[in-house]
Subunit: 118 residues, 2 copies
């Protein structure tokens, strides 16, 4: 497993994180994603973390950084499928993911991204 | 990693296989997927294997069985993102995935599933 697939759906990109992220995988994901945002002219990125039971500060920071990178490339990021325990851990770690939108699931995330931005 | 997430998009379900399947993971996926097809009244299942560089006969059979299960639950399966080397291996293994539709990527798979069946 050397890279996480990025799936294109219309003007959106979908990333499903299923495995424990390590440094190199995170860097590759950020490289691939920024490249795809530009190449596919994506207006939104959905990051699904429903498979993650736990997150640590590394993943939290990775998601936060990825959202920032997407933002300066003019794409919005929505984090979907967060489990309750993950929300608790993130806040306890002091990572409130400021500036990252969240949605219950992929469908609602798509709806959020397709809404004209305010 | 004890289960592969199943994402709902309208009447379709999306499964992205990123990790090596082992027996228990495959059984869990088939259990989850059949349950979700019924619960979500899904009319189609997209299985993305773009992250897989290689497949073996176990994965090939698993995909083929999953598609058969979906079919008897009245849902079509489209396998998307297959890499050229995987196609070569599958045919060499004698697994031509008869009855499983394929598409280049998720977008084309969605288009295929949304087309009225002939």
């Amino acid at each position: 497993m050397d890279r996480i697939p990025i799936l294109k759906m219309g003007r959106l990109l979908l990333v499903t994180i299923q495995v424990d992220m390590h440094d190199q995988l995170a860097i590759t994901l950020q490289d691939d994603l920024t490249e795809r945002i530009v190449k596919d002219r994506a207006q939104g990125v959905l990051i699904d973390i429903s498979a993650l039971d736990i997150v640590d500060s590394f993943i939290g920071r990775m998601i936060s950084n990825t959202a920032s990178m997407a933002r300066i490339l003019d794409a919005s990021t929505v984090l979907v499928g967060m489990q309750p325990a993950v929300a608790i851990t993130l806040v306890e770690l002091g990572m409130a993911l400021v500036g990252v939108q969240t949605a219950l699931n992929v469908e609602q995330g798509i709806r959020l991204l397709e809404r004209p931005s305010d």
